[in-house]
Symmetry: C2
Subunit: 285 residues, 2 copies
């Protein structure tokens, strides 16, 4: 029986609900992991649906929680928000101190199979299994009403987790996702490091590859990307490649190109309300 | 003729407008100063009213800009937002490295008269004169339609600047302000250091003292404070002392005690929408 104790680091009133940060010993990542959770006012009366939010490169649980302004919409629509850290951290957890796009802060939501990463870098299983179990055990959440959203590397994670687990996530969206990681420099570097050289092993973590076999016509994906996003120009995001794969597979996708927006949190803050509405419509449906 | 050149450090699209950070050589503070400005979509067509926001202890121009979620409301109501740094900074600017409530990050919006602070710590004149001139010269702002708001130390600043300059600020509000600084430890320390031991010199920077001579029945002040604010319990904020002074002077005040909210940016984010509506009703009136 794994230890499922939670320790609260902070709690504040926010839009009539509460935003809190917890840490716990993760069985998957074999280290202390943090996540933030926002419980809307509705959660004081009854269990509420939950939206998981996965952050991007270099982020922790803090970026989305303090900068996206999402609590306002979560309070309006009666959703809980859960935002985990993006990688294992701490003493004994390997890192590449010269890279910001690999190692700590850059777990890419995979279960690594290559040493030394394989012992701790298991953020895929952490997100899809351990974290939902923990949240369901401790908070007034409807575990059967969950959606998943993310930004950049976390948008990749949200698409992958959501496509692979239609039973666990009823709704999926992404902001500026790395949508075809097998075909971009960030993804190739991360997958080589965490998963090795055999590209067939990468397909389980590539939304563009997955959608061919995991399309679900009953769920419309929502994806936003800014036209002034420098990583779009650099070919790291490849939303058009993902869109073509969705079309070929019969996966409904609403892809919106937002004029002049860049990759940062002002972009996220501007459109997170639309994403929360997208999820709420499904999760309260 | 002072140099009024502005240099842009960043710009991003945000809620249909733009958020940018500038730096410039300040004639008042005799150093490089930064401020952020949000221009709502309406500013692309015509000049818009402006709300100045003064931040609290330890803050820079960044805290409010990234964490308050205010741009959403500014876009809705057609107001520009301007948020300056809280003190002079840089080489040659004196500091008390052992204090977070005095020196850099803690200018208290006064014009210091005591050496060595008097040469650079002139954030009062910076806020009420230099910054509005600069903003009017460079941006599509209606300089005759300005309001002022602030948080904590910046709430003190907003009340003081607003009360002393009814011609420059048509509307005033504050979140968890240090509302009677002459009567609290933070204020006594700051005023002694910046202004000296003669308490009569302090009165020009104490909202509770000022309201006796600067009440304006035509302006309703809006002040929010959280009941779980630890600095309220420590007697640093003293909203009840300010409220009594307002009542005695005939200054209309809406003082709201927000149950269970603390002093942080989740409190600011929750209520900044009400404050922006308060200012917009006056500034568009």
């Amino acid at each position: 029986m794994p230890d499922s104790s939670l320790f609260r680091l902070s709690v504040s009133r926010c839009f009539g609900g509460t935003v809190a940060v917890y840490h716990h010993t993760s069985r998957e990542c074999r280290c202390d992991m943090r996540f933030s959770i926002y419980l809307p006012p509705q959660a004081e009366r009854e269990p509420v649906p939950v939206l998981y939010y996965l952050s991007g490169l270099t982020c922790t649980e803090e970026n989305f929680t303090t900068k996206a302004g999402a609590q306002r919409y979560a309070a309006e629509y009666g959703l809980a928000l859960v935002a985990p850290d993006t990688s294992p951290r701490g003493e004994g957890v390997p890192d590449d101190p010269n890279a910001w796009d690999f190692g700590m802060g850059a777990g890419f939501y995979v279960d690594a199979t290559i040493a030394p990463w394989d012992r701790h870098y298991r953020t895929y299983s952490y997100v899809v299994t351990e974290l939902p179990e923990l949240v369901a055990a401790h908070f007034p959440i409807r575990g059967d009403r969950a959606g998943i959203c993310g930004h950049s590397m976390g948008g990749h994670g949200a698409l992958v987790c959501g496509l692979r687990h239609r039973d666990r996530y009823r709704s999926i969206s992404a902001l500026a996702p790395i949508a075809a990681p097998m075909q971009c420099p960030w993804g190739e570097k991360a997958f080589t490091g965490y998963l090795g050289d055999d590209r067939t092993a990468w397909q389980a973590y590539d939304a563009t590859a997955l959608v061919a076999t995991h399309a679900d016509p009953s769920r419309i994906l929502l994806v936003d990307v800014g036209t002034a996003d420098p990583f779009l120009a650099q070919g790291q995001l490849l939303p058009e490649v993902f869109a073509a794969a969705c079309q070929a597979a019969g996966q409904p996708l609403t892809l919106r190109r937002q004029s002049d927006y860049d990759h940062g949190y002002y972009f996220v803050a501007t459109f997170i309300g639309d994403h929360i509405r997208h999820h709420a419509a499904v999760l309260h449906g």
